[in-house]
Symmetry: C2
């Protein structure tokens, strides 16, 4: 099969080369809304850092406070706090205050599931 190049000219005047216009059209048809793409990448980004991933796997078991997470991870409490803020902004964790201590928990089972599925992938 010899593919034939078809070129179209876009609105901005730039020629765009495409070999299979129908494939491109189908890709557009099944594409996910760009806002969802960005929210999705934000979630994966949260899981894409070793520190954050270790935090999340730790929280998969039970709630923990900043101080204990810092001891578990071997990094400063400030660094943990920065990461917790990110995770909180993404609604992956939520906190519960008991006196001076903030306990963090996973906000959602999906997060744990994502990690389990990822593990399954790399272990196969």
């Amino acid at each position: 099969m010899t593919p034939k190049v078809s070129s179209i000219v876009e609105g901005d005047g730039c020629a765009v080369r495409m070999i299979h216009p129908e494939k491109i059209q189908r890709a557009r048809d099944r594409s996910i809304d760009i806002r969802e793409i960005h929210r999705l990448t934000a979630v994966y980004k949260a899981l894409s850092d070793p520190t954050r991933l270790r935090i999340i796997t730790a929280l998969k078991g039970e709630e923990m406070c900043v101080c204990d997470l810092a001891a578990f991870l071997g990094i400063s409490e400030s660094a943990v706090s920065h990461q917790m803020r990110r995770l909180k902004d993404l609604a992956l964790v939520r906190s519960r205050r008991d006196g001076q201590v903030l306990y963090y928990v996973l906000d959602d089972d999906h997060v744990g599931d994502l990690i389990d599925l990822g593990l399954e992938h790399i272990r196969e």
Copy 2:
């Protein structure tokens, strides 16, 4: 419940503050091997960029070549090629050559599952 701070001194001579030593121990007990952590973060990192995520969702439907992906995404073929290399290094895609054209496919159903689960998470 008033937590009591216990401090231990680590091998390097630094005092580490911990409120719940038993929580830290349990977190250690259930912790994932650090090598797996890094492989896992690499996979999530692959999904954490809008361009790559759109590439993967496009390939969820059918195989596509660099040229068509570039047209679909609206970015240069070089940029696509760089990303395909990353995805290939992570074994998320594989390629099939037909003449001058390289067709990429998802190498693994898990990747698609990861995305579906992520979508479920953000849509709930």
